[in-house]
Every structure is written in C-alpha cells, then in structure tokens.
Symmetry: C2
Subunit: 355 residues, 2 copies
DNA sequence: GCGGCATTTTGCACCGCTTTCAAAATTCAG
DNA sequence: CTGAATTTTGAAAGCGGTGCAAAATGCCGC
C-alpha cells in the first residue's frame, strides 16, 4: 500500500515553536524602512492616526510591506482588535445536498464581504454539538448559523437558526411556511385523486419534523383527507442517504394497509422509498405516487424524477448570512423570525391515483 | 417574509472591542486564588515547571479554574505556543457525497486526537484556492488535506493530497490504483459480453480524470476491447449533481454510434446518464449497462441500483488524517504515496449485453 | 538563633500587533 | 532670530498567556 518513505531534514511542529525567521513581522518591516512599528502599523491599517503621515513615507512603507511580503499575524491582531471576520456554521453532516446548498448560499455571501466560515458537525448529538460549539467560540467566531438543529440554548454570539423553532434570546429563526407546504403537497395529491396517503414523518432529532407533521395533520383535515395512523411511519435513522427512507418504507409495506401516495419527509428519504416500492414490485407513479421535500438537485435526475416541495435552500443560506453579518457589523435590529415560501415542483413521481 | 424586528440594547462587535468583564482570564483566576498567573498557568498546563507545586495548591487552582469556568484564550495561547491543533481541508464543494464520506473519515480521526478542522472551498478555481489557502494558513492550520485538486504548488505546512498526482515537496499523495479499477470494470463488462463500450471521461479539472482515462485506455487494449473515440465524451460541467452526466450522455446518444455499456466517471454522473438513457427510451440494464465509480451511499438506492467501482472513501479520509497528524506531531518520515485498492460492486445496472 | 538547603511562589520578558500620547523635528510668523 | 504652530515620529502600554530565572518562604540541624 505504501510506496515509499523518506526522512525529512527538519521537524515541523517542533520547528515552529521557536522564532521562525522566514515569517515577516511588523517589526521587520519597520526596521527595513527605519521607522517604528507603530508608524508602519498606522499606515498599513490606514488608521485615523495616520492622517498626518506624509505621502512619501506612506508610500515607502506600503512598498516595503509588499516587497517583504508582509502578512499581519492573525492571532496577534485578534488580541488587540477582538475581530476574526469569521462565522461558524453548525450543521448535521458535511456530505448532504441539503446542507451543501445552504452552505453554498452562505459561502457566496460571506466571501463577498470578506468573511470566512468554519464548520462544526453536530450529527444531532448534544455532546458533539457542545464540543463544536466550544471550539467555534474558542476560535473567535463572531456569529453562528445553525442548520437543522434544536438549539439547546442561545449562543453567546449573534445567531441565525435555519429551521429553528424555539425562540432563544438573540436568535433569528428562518423557517419555511410549513402550512403552505403541506397544503401544496396534499392539494396536489388530492387533485390527482389520492385519498389514502402515507407519510414518512421526520426523525424527531430533525428540527422541522414536528412542525411539518403538525402542518400535514392540519392540512389533511381541512382537505377532508384522513391520514390513518397505520400509514404514518417515523424515520429513525440519522442517515442523510436514501437509506433513511428505505427501511421505514419497508415497514410501511409490511403493515399491509393500502395506500396510493406517499408524502416523504424529504427528497433523500423519498428516493429510498421509491427504491423500496420498486423492490416490492410497485411502480412509481402508476401504483404509488411519491412526493418529496426540499428539491435537492438530484431530485430532478431520479427515474422517475421527483415531485417535491421546493425549499429555496440557497436563498435561505444567503439570507441567513446577510442577517448575521449585518448584526456583526453593529446593526442592532434584527428579525426574530423570517418565513420563506415553499413551491410545488410537479415532476414524474406523482400521477393520477390508480383507483 | 419578515415577522418582527426588535431593537437590541447593546451592540455586538462594538462591545467586544473593550474589555469584556464576562470573560475569565488567567489573571482573574490568579487573583481568585491569590497566586500569580505564572503559577496558575503552570498547574493548568501541567507543565514541567509545575513539578514542584504542592498537591494542595494544585488542587486549589484546578478547582478555582473550574469554578470560574476559566477557558484559556486560544489566540493568546497561540502567540506563545504556535499551536492551533487545527488542520485545513481543501475541497471542491461541501455538498457532495464523495467529499462528505472523505471528510467523515477525517473528522472521526481528528476528533479522537482532539484536533479541529476548517475547510476551504476551491471549486476548482485557482483564485478561490489561493484565497482559501491564505485564509487557512493565516488561521494557523498545522497541516492541509486536499481533495480532488491539482495542487499548483506545495503548501508551507505538511500536506496530504487525496487523489493528488503531482509529486510536490512535503506532500503525501493518496491515490487509487486506477489500473486495477479499470481492469475490474472492463473485465466485468467484457464478461457480460459487452464490446461496444462508451466512456464518460472526467472533467480535466478533476484530479483523477487523466489517470483514470489512461488506465481505461490501457485496460481496454489488454482486454482486446477497442473504445471508439465517438463513444468517449468529456464531462464539462463542474457540477457535483447528476446534471454532470446528463448532458454529456445526451451528446453521446446524438452521435448515433451504437454501444451496449457505459463506464461513467463517477456515480453521480452515472445517475445522470441513466436518466438520459431512460428519457431516450433505453432501459438500463436491458439495453445499456451502466457502471459508475466511487460507490457513494446513494448508488445502492438508485433504481436500478448502480454497479460501481468502490473507492474506500471513508478509509481514505481516515488514512489521510492519520498520516497528517503523525507529521504534525513530529514524525519526520512519511510516505510520498499511498495507494489504495478499488473493488467491484456488482448491482443491477449492469447485465448481459443485448446482442 | 542562624546558615544552608529544599520547597514554593513570583516577577518578568516575550509572542506580534495596535493605539495613544508625548516628544522631536520642522515650518512659519513676527 | 525667537517662540509658537504644525508636522512627523517614537515609546510604551496592553491584549492573555507561557516559562524561566530568581526570590521568598519554610525547615533542618547545630
């Protein structure tokens, strides 16, 4: 497996512990231009106290800094300024399309504002959450965005909770309009003639599970569709792969209660559900219609392509970042809650009810 | 959309610039126990110089620290120790299953060792790479793992390049045995009677593209299968969704040259390809066999489930982390290259050739 | 009661940068 | 040519820790 080893002439971590002459400090620049560090610092930061520094000196300093390739030490600088221009993102898992889309929206915005982000992976485990919360704060994040998390308490920096439902001090919740989502989905199924509808209910550790289920229950009532308890299955896995929906759908089929449509908790579980149906010899959508949730990119490329309730995930990320950075930059007003609208994306996985 | 705004009594970033009395410093602990900061530091770090500190004092200090909830300031500490216990991960995109699996392997290992990781998102864009390289180094990463990247130069900290093919100073490359992979895939197809095989060739920005194609070309030769140039399509999108393979497969079909099997660059493009085939009225695997690459979790839940060449992605992440942390902890020997073996996972998307 | 040794504890310099304040240098009015 | 006004620069404190040389304290026997 291993092809080759070579010994290196110098150690790495050990080396750094002393003074590394390769790294250019402010003092080095100051010596180079024969001025004091204070003056150099003032010029390079264009600080108010540098108002009176003559143009020639200024230019001399700037050029020396460039020439020596001076990079201010991030840590030393923090010690004075208490700024890191960094936000923390607390998410379930790094490999899911859901999280990927949201982060992409966040990244795009914070990059434009010259901020950086670091991630903590909670995996819905309170201990992991606590660990990463500590690490993010230790590293000076100036704000936090959480994804799909029941925040146990408010964090000591400004926070935006995507899919957050508990109102903590200092936290903005960004939530989808679940009532609307449920209505869109169930109306769509009802219009196609479905009356016996099964539901994959989210794992309680997922932040949206309870609200979404609530909304489905209400909407089904008002549409006069009753959802039999035998047709409701709770997702139990914490996987972010189709496995999430595969097992529970098998369970559902075992119950032998007939149904013509399935409303899955999200697209990824819908994909697993379709797999389970097809293994059972049921065709989607001819025998069973399936509707997902989220509209991840893959949904459109499944066969059959997935009808789903779209969440504007990228925009949600963007919005979260925008609100957070505004607060970090001193804005004192912030929304307690931002509600976003879902959209029905009708594709191939839903069709007229068989009967 | 916005539900409510409230004004806050105090600003955030501004507040931090002064001295925040809420945060417990070493000095505060020292005052509390009526000892000097030096003594407290020595005890809390269990440093060699604390040898002579009596057990009672030691206990008193430790308890005070716990009681006051003292947390050493990460930045101040760095300034002395030059340690961050943090590695950087440079990856294409945060929402892909491929990257997710690798990171999961990395995370698992570094967490056990009490390290932390921060990510940079290069999106195969040299400018973005440079930007995030700077930011990671600025923030004191002690090592870097790159994923699916043509590293333009060696980094000034220990580096492990997953799917790295260029030998840079101080870099360990972890590579898959592509010859073996190509042989496994083509032999499998040949055994099923396929002779006209199409290939989705990776986008050149992907690190493995060239080696993989090379290996396929060689293996096909030695198996006596010739791959016609009309049956080779280059992936051009930089998407990490099935879209990646969908368009190119349409192109392939337009060329009208018959084939019975497709070897996709990876699973995600294979999924897009299958979609394209099915839209064209071609059944997989009855009309066309499709084989993917990577064995991401979703592969098993597609319909048809995907035959693929498995890369042990989680293990690769784990191995990368292990090698990197060993170097950071002072190990001077390290492998220049680690080669890992692929595996054929035969599922439903491949079958006997139609003719 | 005191020197001498061992045990505890304390200053202090430094990591690299920012910022204030005062001093030095220069210019200018009279 | 003097003194004030203005421009330019430097010295120093401090952010929060670490680590070491040196000081303070305690304890022993004589």
């Amino acid at each position: 497996m291993v092809r080759d080893n070579i010994p290196k002439g110098h150690s790495t971590a050990a080396k750094k512990r002393g003074h590394d002459p390769a790294v250019v400090t402010l003092k080095a620049v100051a010596e180079y231009v024969q001025l004091s560090p204070g003056t150099v610092s003032a010029v390079l930061n264009d600080s108010p106290s540098s108002r009176h520094i003559p143009e020639v000196t200024r230019k001399r300093i700037v050029e020396a800094a460039r020439h020596l390739n001076y990079k201010p030490n991030f840590f030393a600088r923090y010690l004075r300024n208490k700024r890191t221009y960094t936000i923390g993102i607390m998410l379930n898992d790094i490999g899911s399309e859901y999280g990927g889309l949201v982060i992409s929206g966040i990244e795009d915005y914070v990059r434009k504002k010259d901020y950086f982000f670091i991630t903590g992976v909670h995996r819905h485990d309170p201990e992991l959450f606590a660990r990463y919360e500590r690490m993010l704060l230790e590293r000076g994040v100036e704000g936090v965005i959480t994804l799909d998390l029941h925040l146990p308490h408010s964090v000591r920096v400004p926070t935006v909770a995507i899919a957050g439902h508990h109102q903590h001090e200092g936290v903005t919740n960004i939530v989808l309009d679940h009532k609307c989502a449920a209505r869109l989905a169930l109306q769509h199924l009802a219009d196609l003639g479905h009356r016996e509808i099964a539901v994959l209910k989210g794992n309680p550790v997922s932040a949206d599970s309870s609200e979404r289920w609530q909304a489905i229950a209400e909407a089904s009532q008002s549409l006069g569709i009753s959802i039999h308890e035998d047709l409701v299955v709770q997702l139990v896995s914490e996987s972010t792969t189709p496995e999430l929906g595969y097992g529970p759908t098998k369970t559902l089929l075992q119950r032998k209660r007939p149904f013509t449509a399935l409303f899955a908790f999200n697209d990824i579980s819908a994909i697993g559900a379709i797999r389970a149906f097809q293994e059972a010899g049921l065709r989607v959508p001819q025998d069973i219609s399936v509707i997902g949730f989220d509209d991840i990119k893959s949904a459109a490329y499944q066969y059959p392509s997935l009808t789903t309730i779209r969440q504007p995930l990228w925009d949600i990320g963007q919005t979260a970042a925008k609100i957070l950075l505004a607060r970090i930059e001193g804005e004192e007003k912030y929304p307690l809650q931002v509600s976003v609208k879902p959209e029905l994306i009708a594709r191939e996985s839903t069709a007229k009810a068989a009967r």
